[in-house]
Symmetry: C3
Subunit: 266 residues, 3 copies
């Protein structure tokens, strides 16, 4: 069985009917699609957080997955609506930086959603998740050609860079998100760690974050005494700062945007 | 493919297992049905809010959709259980006003759920979502005839009217809900606005709410300076009072039940 | 149509992408499975609460259901991963007591998940819901033989007993959970009530909880005056202490672990 898969991320919350309405529209257009909710708890209008969560999530899904993402404070204004083909997957959402990870793929193809045949009518001024993005994702799931959605554009809105940078033998990144468990996820990757270690063992890694110095890489959240602050390579290939059995952001005051520096000991 | 669609709205929250149990019961009776959660964050026992959200959501779903709604503080008492056919859709829930929008359709047909063949047994005293309403919705999805569920009744419980009323050339409505984004949704519709304008342009609309006077209708939440209070025709055809980029209820103290008056300028 | 059913319970919350990632992995392995979320709001690492909710929920699902449960503070350490066949259903989760209800079945068969063919690779150190438990549940849904997962083990981790105990003619249990509606669910069952009543009517039941004395068993939450504290046999066959139209834990200070004693009047 081949079942088209649509993921759905938004800032719609769970108190109203907005998420359900989009599910209903998708089901009406493509009943055979499976829709997986990534999260709808992105704070209202928080485009950067939405972009980060989408990036973290998308890599866990199979090729061909269609990612529907709606964090859209500019709904109803002149901002464009986009579909992006990148990294073997498809992305649908507003042109405000939310799809930045897809757009960072040099081989990406970006189209402006202009063909109103794939919209729900009448198109409201305030709910394009229901009227534009959801229907387009459903039509893609049904087999509509990507090229049919609208013309290729070359100037999608991008986010300010949040890439780590080199500083002599160190890499300096930052805290991108605090997750449910109070772990601080950074934009430093396994590749940065390998480069810094330069052949030395994991025990030679030194991490500076929140005024703390952590040495070595732990294999899991649970293999040091409770309360210890540790550095871990997390499930999405990112360096994480964690407190064993606790919330590192509350306990150590580590927060969004805080710099994280990694070097080799000695 | 024709896939029966059931929506599900309740006050069950997401902390316990109640929502999942109802999904499981539906899946056992009608595995081919798709179940879309509208919301389960209705405050416990808040029938009026449940009724409003159901009304706002139902219109976005296709004809034939089955709406399962459970906000049921009287579970286990003598209150009846209902199924209503109205507006081209089906509604299943307690007889306490929750289904008021369906009941407001003059052509609706209302039945009391008395045929226990469509229940889950034993029927508990405290969880009719699992034992009565969910199973009946699933049986409807499977093709059980509406008329088989029980006898027609003529006296279902209705909510006190929350309709807008005319006052000379004005219409006076009220705030029905504050949504996730802090927008105040009213019971004034596009039809009220058209009637008040009486042929004049949108810029002639005057809205009084929360001690503020708003002139004109904005096309979206985002086409005025951040912080501005605006009036918008929202995605469900209702007049909404919004703050551009903010929460109008927090910023301007507009709350549930507040009167909203619309007139024509001059 | 026979559609395999997987339930999913975790402490992953709804803010991040963890729940969606597991859904995606399951969909990739077994697209025809239906996945029902029980709850993801178990507090981080709260194994006992997870075990109680799983126990309360599982009985509502059909034979053959696969229960995926992930509350796993020891992820990445030496703790084993388990699958348990018990009570006509299958359970997949960490070896930390979370699956205690399944393990309490004297006829249960418990296997250690050692066959890495059923994992997602590479297996991370920190997200076995995605890499181990989710994939194994999906393979079971696809028809993989239970015995293929790994060897039988005889020493799974169990929770400390929370069973009620006899005290002369009384049974003494405790409050296991406060649900969304503020009802206090106990570990006293209908069987305990029947034994204590010893042939007398329900009106002879005396319940002591939180310094209050309740006589008789109410048929529902709503058949006594608002504000009254009542005892009810709830939907999962447990004795519950409830406040009519209110939150018994807030109003009467009844909390987790509080003793509840039942006897016969006179």
């Amino acid at each position: 069985v081949s079942v088209p898969l649509i993921t759905f991320l938004s800032d719609f919350g769970s108190e109203d009917w907005f998420v359900g309405a989009v599910h209903g529209v998708i089901a009406a257009i493509c009943p055979e699609a499976r829709v997986v909710d990534v999260t709808h708890a992105i704070p209202p209008g928080a485009i950067e957080r939405g972009a980060f969560v989408l990036e973290a999530a998308a890599g866990d899904f199979a090729p061909g997955t269609i990612h529907l993402a709606v964090v859209d404070p500019g709904v109803g204004t002149a901002r464009r609506a986009l579909a992006v083909r990148a990294r073997g997957q498809l992305f649908v959402g507003p042109d405000n930086g939310l799809l930045d990870w897809a757009l960072a793929d040099p081989a990406c193809e970006t189209r402006s959603l202009t063909d109103a045949r794939y919209f729900r009518h009448p198109v409201s001024r305030t709910f394009h998740g229901r009227d534009v993005f959801g229907p387009v994702a459903a039509h893609l799931a049904r087999g509509t050609a990507f090229a049919a959605l609208g013309p290729v554009i070359g100037d999608p809105v991008r986010l300010p860079s949040r890439r780590a940078h080199r500083d002599d033998g160190a890499w300096i990144g930052q805290v991108m998100i605090i997750d449910r468990f109070g772990n601080a996820l950074t934009n430093l990757s396994a590749e940065h760690v390998v480069e810094v270690l330069d052949g030395a063992g994991e025990e030679a890694l030194v991490v500076h974050a929140g005024g703390r110095r952590i040495t070595g890489l732990s294999r899991s959240y649970g293999d040091a005494p409770v309360g210890t602050i540790v550095a871990v390579l997390g499930s999405s290939g990112r360096l994480e700062i964690a407190q064993v059995g606790g919330d590192v952001s509350q306990r150590y005051g580590i927060g969004l945007g805080d710099p994280v520096r990694i070097t080799k000991a000695g």
